[in-house]
C-alpha cells in the first residue's frame, strides 16, 4: 500500500490540485457562462435593430443620444480604474484606501445606473417601450440586464465596504476584493461591446 502524501494545511484553504484558487476558478467559469448570456441577448438585438415595422415607433438612430451615452460609458470605464486601485490598496493592506476606492467604484456605478434610468425614461416619453417594436423589446431587455448586473455589482461593493468596517473581511480580503473586481471588470467589458454594437453601429 502506498504511503499517503502529507497534506500541509496553510491558513484556511487546503491546497488545490492546480494551485488555482477555487473561488477564482468558479468566478471565471461563471463569467464564461455570462458571455453566452449576453451573447444571446446581443444576437437578439442584432437580429431586430433594423426591423422596426412601419408605424412601430422610433428606429434606433432616431432615438439614441450618442454624446449622452458616451459620457455615461466613460463613467463606467473609469470605475474599472478605481476598482483596480481598490485591489492595489487591499493587497497593500491599506484598509482606508481600499474603502475609499471601493466606494468610488460603487459611486461611479450608481452614476451609470442613474444615467440609464434617465435614458430609459427619456426613451419611453419619446415613444419607445418594451412593446412598441421588436427593437424596443431587444433594447430594453439587453441594456436592462446589463444595468441589473451593474446594480448587483454595486451591492457587492457596498457589502465589501460594510464588512471591512465591521472587521469581517478576514485575512484574505485581497482575494475577496479581486473576486468582486473580476465580476466588475467583466460587466464593464460587456458594456464596451454593448456600446459599440448597440449605439455606435449605425442602423437603417
Amino acid at each position: 500500500m502506498s504511503t499517503p502524501e502529507q497534506v500541509i494545511v496553510v491558513g484556511h484553504e487546503p491546497p488545490t490540485a492546480t494551485g488555482l484558487d477555487n473561488t477564482k476558478l468558479a468566478m471565471w467559469g461563471f463569467l464564461g457562462s455570462e458571455c453566452l448570456f449576453f451573447g444571446s441577448l446581443i444576437s437578439t438585438y442584432l437580429l431586430y435593430r433594423n426591423r422596426v415595422c412601419a408605424g412601430c415607433g422610433p428606429r434606433p438612430h432616431q432615438i439614441y443620444n450618442i454624446p449622452y451615452t458616451s459620457v455615461s460609458s466613460f463613467v463606467l470605464l473609469m470605475s474599472s480604474l478605481t476598482m483596480v486601485l481598490a485591489l492595489a490598496a487591499a493587497q497593500k493592506r491599506d484598509d482606508r484606501g481600499m474603502r475609499i476606492w471601493l466606494l468610488a467604484t460603487a459611486l461611479l456605478g450608481m452614476i451609470f445606473v442613474g444615467g440609464q434610468i434617465f435614458e430609459f425614461t427619456d426613451f419611453y416619453h419619446r415613444g419607445l417601450s418594451l412593446s412598441t417594436s421588436t427593437f424596443g423589446s431587444a433594447f430594453f431587455v439587453l441594456t436592462g440586464f446589463h444595468g441589473a448586473h451593474v446594480t448587483v455589482g454595486i451591492l457587492m461593493l457596498l457589502s465589501l465596504v460594510a464588512m471591512s468596517f465591521l472587521g469581517r473581511l478576514g485575512p484574505d480580503q485581497a482575494r475577496k476584493v479581486e473576486l468582486i473586481g473580476l465580476y466588475w471588470h467583466f460587466v464593464d467589458i460587456v458594456w464596451i461591446v454593448i456600446f459599440t454594437v448597440v449605439y455606435l453601429i449605425p442602423s437603417k
Partner: protein, 626 residues
C-alpha cells in the same frame, strides 16, 4: 466592544449542529447526503412523470378515447417531457455525480459544499413550482420545446410557469456545473492526473461544461418568453416583425447540448460498470475520454437538425445534416470500446452489468434511428411523427435511464452497506427491457405509417389501433418493473445482505472506503499511482499475465475510518451544515409567483428572502460552535 458585537452576530448566524433527523438532512452540505437526496427526489419525479405517461398511453390505447380532453392531454405530454428531462434524467445524473465524483478523485467533499446544497434545494423547489401550476389554473401546455409564438399566446398561466420554473432549474444546474468543474479541476488527490481519472469523472466534467454554456442560452430564451407573456414584449410577435425562428434557434442551441448533458453521465456509468464485471480495464480509455470531449464540442454544431422542417434553406440544412452524421462517429467509437471491453473478459452477469449491456444495445438502436433523421429528405417525412418519439425514447430511456439504473444497482452497496437482491434486480431488468421495447419499438412503425406526435386522439380505421394497444400494454409492463425495483429496495433494506467495502471487486477509489463511507470519505487522502488505482493496489500481474491478488490485499487495505484524526493528530474538519442554502433557494420561487400574478409586494418578499440568504451565507461563521 467590537468583540461583543461580533459574539452576538455569531449567535444570530450560528450554524446548525444536528447530525440525525430531518433537520440534519435539510441543512446538510455533505455531498453524499445531497447525492442521495437528488436521486430519491429524481425517482419520486420519475414515478410522477411515469404516471403521466401511463395516463397518456391509456388515452391512446384505442381510437376516439376520452380519458383526457385535448387540453388536459397537452398539459400531460408537456409536463411528462419537462419532468423526465429536467426533474428526472438531469438530477439523477447530477445526484450520482454528487455522490461519486469526490470519492472517485480522492476528495473529502466538493469545492463549494453550501453551493451544492443550494443547487439541490433550488432543484426541488423549482420542480414543485412547476407542478404547483396544475393547482393554479393549468400546467404548461405548449410542449417542452415551448415554440413561440404559440407559447406566448396560450391563455393559461401554464407557459409563464414554464418560463420561470425552467429558469429556476437552470440556476440550480448552473451553480452545480460551476461547482463540479472546480471540484474536478482543483480537488483531485495527489497523483490523480487528468488521464488517471475514472471515465465517469471525465464525463461529469464534460457535462458540467455543457451545462455552464448551454444554460445561459435557454435563460435568455426563457426571459424573452417571460417578458413577452408578462410585460408585453414583442420578441416573437410576427405582427411586429418578431421572428419565431429566434426562439427555435435559442432553444435548440441549448436543446441539443442538453441531449448530451443527459446521456454523458450514463455513458460514464457504463464505462465504470463494464470493466468491473468483465474483469478487464476499459478498452481504449483515451479514445473513450477524447470521444466524450469531442461529443462535448461537436454537440454545439448540430442544433438545426431539430429545425429541418422550418425552412432554413438547402445550405444550412446540408451543413447541419453533415455535422449530425459526423457526431455519430465519436458515439460509435464509444460503442466499440464498450464491446471491446467485454470481448474476452470473464463476464459476470450481475444486475448492474445487465443494465449496462441493456444501455449499449438500446442506445445502438436509438443512435441508428437518429442517423436516419440526419438525412434531410427522410427527416421531412419523419419529423413530428411517432418515429421521432421512438428515437428519443431509445436514447433517453433505453440509454440514459438504463445507464442510471445500472449505476443505482452498482453503487447501492457503497451508499448503504448492503446489496440489492439479485433475483428481484434481474426481474426488474428483464421486465423493463421487454416493457420498453414493446412500448417504443412499435412507435417506429406507427411513425412511418404517418401517426403524428402530440395528437390527443386518432380516428378508427387508419391501421394504428393494434400497435397503440400493444404500446399501452408495454407501458404498464415498465410500470410493473419500477414497482419491482421499489419492492427490491424495501426488501433488501430489511434483509440487509452486508456487502462489505468492495462487493464487486471493483477498480476505482470509492471502493477503498468503508460502505457507507464516513462523512470525511478518506481518513488519509490517497496517493494515486495509476489509472484504476484501487485495482492495482489489490492485484499485480502474475507470471502468465493474469492478475494475482497481492498479499493482504483487498479488504485489509480498506480505510476503516475508526479514528477521526489525520496524520498530524488533528481532527478532520468537515464543513458545518448551514440553513442558508435552503433560505436562499426559497427566494427565487417566491419571486416567481410574484411575477406570474404581478404581485409586486410578493416579488419584494422574495427579494428579501434572497438577500437574507445571501447575507446569512456570507456572514455565518465557518464552523459550528462546539
Amino acid at each position: 466592544m467590537a468583540t461583543v458585537v461580533l459574539e452576538q452576530r455569531r449567535r444570530i448566524f450560528s450554524r446548525p449542529t444536528a447530525k440525525t433527523g430531518w433537520w440534519s438532512w435539510m441543512t446538510s452540505v455533505d455531498h453524499k447526503r445531497i447525492g442521495i437526496m437528488y436521486i430519491v427526489t429524481a425517482l419520486a419525479f420519475f414515478v410522477i412523470g411515469g404516471s403521466e405517461a401511463l395516463v397518456i398511453r391509456l388515452q391512446l390505447a384505442k381510437p376516439n378515447n376520452t380519458v383526457l380532453s385535448a387540453n388536459a392531454y397537452n398539459q400531460f405530454f408537456t409536463m411528462h417531457g419537462l419532468t423526465m428531462i429536467f426533474l428526472v434524467v438531469m438530477p439523477f445524473g447530477v445526484g450520482l455525480m454528487n455522490y461519486l465524483v469526490p470519492l472517485m478523485i480522492g476528495a473529502r467533499d466538493v469545492a463549494f459544499p453550501r453551493l451544492n446544497a443550494f443547487s439541490y434545494w433550488l432543484f426541488v423547489l423549482g420542480g414543485l413550482f412547476l407542478y404547483s401550476s396544475f393547482a393554479l389554473g393549468g400546467a404548461p401546455d405548449g410542449g417542452w420545446f415551448g415554440y413561440a409564438p404559440l407559447s406566448t399566446t396560450l391563455p393559461s398561466h401554464g407557459m409563464t410557469f414554464y418560463s420561470i420554473g425552467l429558469q429556476i432549474l437552470g440556476v440550480a444546474s448552473l451553480a452545480g456545473a460551476a461547482n463540479f468543474i472546480v471540484t474536478i479541476i482543483n480537488m483531485r488527490a495527489p497523483g490523480m492526473t487528468l488521464m488517471r481519472m475514472p471515465v465517469f469523472v471525465w464525463m461529469s466534467l464534460v457535462t458540467s461544461f455543457l451545462l455552464l454554456f448551454a444554460m445561459p442560452v435557454i435563460a435568455v430564451a426563457l426571459f424573452e418568453l417571460m417578458f413577452s407573456r408578462v410585460f408585453g414584449a414583442v420578441f416573437f410577435d410576427p405582427a411586429k416583425g418578431g421572428e419565431p425562428l429566434l426562439w427555435q434557434h435559442l432553444f435548440w442551441v441549448f436543446g441539443h447540448p442538453e441531449v448530451y448533458i443527459m446521456i454523458l453521465p450514463a455513458m460514464g456509468i457504463v464505462s465504470e460498470v463494464l470493466p468491473t464485471f468483465s474483469r478487464k480495464p476499459l478498452f481504449g480509455y483515451g479514445a473513450v475520454v477524447f470521444s466524450g470531449i469531442a461529443i462535448g464540442f461537436m454537440g454545439w454544431g448540430v442544433w438545426a437538425h431539430h429545425m429541418f422542417a422550418a425552412g432554413l434553406g438547402p445550405v444550412a440544412n446540408s451543413a447541419f445534416a453533415l455535422s449530425t452524421m459526423f457526431i455519430a462517429v465519436p458515439t460509435g467509437v464509444k460503442i466499440f470500446n464498450w464491446i471491446g471491453t467485454m470481448w474476452g473478459g470473464s463476464l459476470r452477469f450481475k444486475t448492474p452489468m445487465l443494465f449496462s449491456i441493456g444501455f449499449v444495445a438500446m442506445f445502438i438502436i436509438g443512435g441508428l434511428s437518429g442517423v436516419t433523421h440526419a438525412v434531410v429528405p427522410a427527416d421531412a417525412q419523419q419529423t413530428d411523427t411517432y418515429y421521432i418519439v421512438a428515437h428519443f425514447h431509445y436514447v433517453l430511456f433505453g440509454g440514459a435511464i438504463f445507464g442510471l439504473f445500472s449505476g443505482v444497482y452498482y453503487w447501492w452497496p457503497k451508499a448503504f452497506g448492503y446489496t440489492l437482491s439479485e433475483g428481484l434486480g434481474k426481474l426488474h431488468f428483464w421486465l423493463m427491457l421487454i416493457g420498453f421495447n414493446v412500448t417504443f419499438g412499435p412507435m417506429h412503425i406507427l411513425g412511418l405509417e404517418g401517426m403524428p406526435r402530440r395528437i390527443y386522439t386518432y380516428p378508427d380505421g387508419l391501421g394504428w389501433n393494434i400497435w397503440n394497444f400493444i404500446e399501452t400494454i408495454g407501458a404498464f409492463t415498465i410500470a410493473a418493473s419500477i414497482l419491482v425495483f421499489i419492492i427490491n429496495t424495501q426488501r433488501s433494506r430489511r434483509l440487509r445482505a452486508e456487502s462489505g467495502p468492495d462487493p464487486w471487486d471493483a477498480r476505482t477509489l470509492e471502493w477503498s472506503t468503508p460502505s457507507p463511507p464516513p462523512e470525511y470519505n478518506f481518513e488519509q487522502i490517497p496517493l494515486v499511482e495509476s489509472r484504476d488505482d484501487w485495482w492495482h493496489r489489490k492485484y499485480i500481474p502474475g507470471p502468465s499475465g493474469a492478475p494475482v491478488r497481492v498479499f493482504a490485499g483487498g479488504a485489509d487495505m480498506v480505510d476503516e475510518g475508526t479514528a477521526v484524526v489525520d496524520e498530524h493528530g488533528h481532527g478532520i474538519h468537515m464543513p458545518s451544515p448551514s440553513y442558508f442554502p435552503l433560505v436562499l433557494a426559497f427566494g427565487l420561487p417566491i419571486m416567481g409567483y410574484g411575477v406570474i400574478y404581478k404581485l409586486w409586494w410578493l416579488v419584494g418578499i422574495g427579494l428579501l428572502v434572497l438577500l437574507t440568504g445571501v447575507y446569512g451565507w456570507v456572514l455565518e461563521p465557518p464552523t459550528a460552535e462546539e
